[in-house]
């Protein structure tokens, strides 16, 4: 371990003028308010409280790391619940003037619901979710606010499996399926023809 003397000798050799300044004292310009050192601990505690209050907005630890899994889990849970309640097949008639399309199978209804949802997004945008706080059907997203969950799902639709989207009841959209024009429906079917199987075709036509 170097001794103080060695450190000073090194300085004297390197720079006599800096050695001289140091020897005469370099602390003269340092003025510390009276009693400052007695208050450091309390000042720190005040500062810490202030900082902690600033960042304390009641977000559980790891919330942002786990939100995706939490949403998926809730959706899955809801989906299973819904599956047990929903009848296997449902008939919906969509009438528009002289044209009539008869749907009597759930898988296609699913696709239509998605189409309607996406269509609704395009038309209404996220304002719908900002203004509509009464979608009781998504109460299961316990710790996540409705707006937050819907906004998240809306913004990340591509990350969800079809089945997961269907698990969510976008009440307004499903209710309004009957208002989809046949042109819109045809257009959707045309764009998603690859997703339809023979059974679907046989049931549509």
């Amino acid at each position: 371990m170097e001794k103080r003397k060695e450190i000073l000798n090194e300085l004297e050799e390197l720079s006599p003028i800096l050695f001289k300044i140091k020897a005469e004292g370099t602390d003269k310009n340092i003025v510390v308010p009276n009693g400052y050192f007695d208050s450091v601990e309390n000042q720190f505690l005040d500062r810490r409280m202030q900082v902690e209050n600033e960042i304390d907005i009641d977000i559980p630890t790891d919330y942002f790391d786990n939100i995706e899994s939490a949403v998926f889990a809730k959706i899955k849970e809801r989906e299973i619940e819904e599956e047990s309640k929903t009848p296997k097949r449902k008939i919906i008639n969509i009438s528009r003037g002289r044209e009539r399309v008869r749907l009597s199978f759930l898988p296609l209804l699913t696709k239509i619901a998605i189409a309607a949802t996406l269509f609704f997004f395009f038309i209404k945008g996220t304002d719908y979710f900002k203004s509509n706080q009464s979608i009781e059907e998504i109460d299961y997203l316990a710790s996540i606010s409705k707006t937050e969950a819907l906004n998240y799902i809306a913004a990340n639709t591509h990350e969800f499996e079809t089945e997961q989207l269907v698990g969510i009841e976008f009440t307004e959209e499903i209710k309004n399926v009957e208002e989809i024009t046949s042109e819109e429906l045809n257009s959707y079917l045309y764009e998603n023809i690859n997703e339809l199987n023979e059974e679907d075709f046989s049931e549509i036509f």
């Binding site: 450190i7 003028i17 300044i21 140091k22 050192f37 450091v40 720190f44």
Partner: protein, 178 residues
Amino acid sequence: MTITDNEILAKIKLPEEKEEGFRVLMSTYKKQLYYHIRRYVSNHEDANDILQNTFLKVWVSIEQFRGDSSLYSWLYRIASNESITYINKTKKRNEIGIETQSIGEKGTADGLHSNDLVERLEKAIAILPDKQKQVFILRYYDEMPYEKMSEVLETSIGALKASYFHAVKKVEQFVLTV
């Protein structure tokens, strides 16, 4: 009765004693750290801000302190880095200050009062590159052995010696000719 660094750390690691242990840590190191910081900044308010920031950072990360270096070295490292960060944030203001103050001060060190020399010394340190500034302050003011400096700055002793040599020469030149 003095308390060792290990005892302080042991206290801090117990949740019910963390606050008390931290008080002891602050009491033990506040003066050394304050005077160290005060070499980077010339006024008390700035030094107090940096000291508080240093303690906040220590509070937040103390549980991650693995004891690879001594507590003393770790605290100096944080204080030193906090000081550099702080002065870099206010660099523009400081540079303007130095430039303005230097006008009309050309001359030699001969016949200068020691207070003037100290002032010149502080100005010279202010314009050193960050790393040289840290090295110079630790060695010149804190009289820290190279082994300790190596722990604080995580730099080899050889590099520290070279850095100190260059810093001393730059400061000397500034003091003698500005």
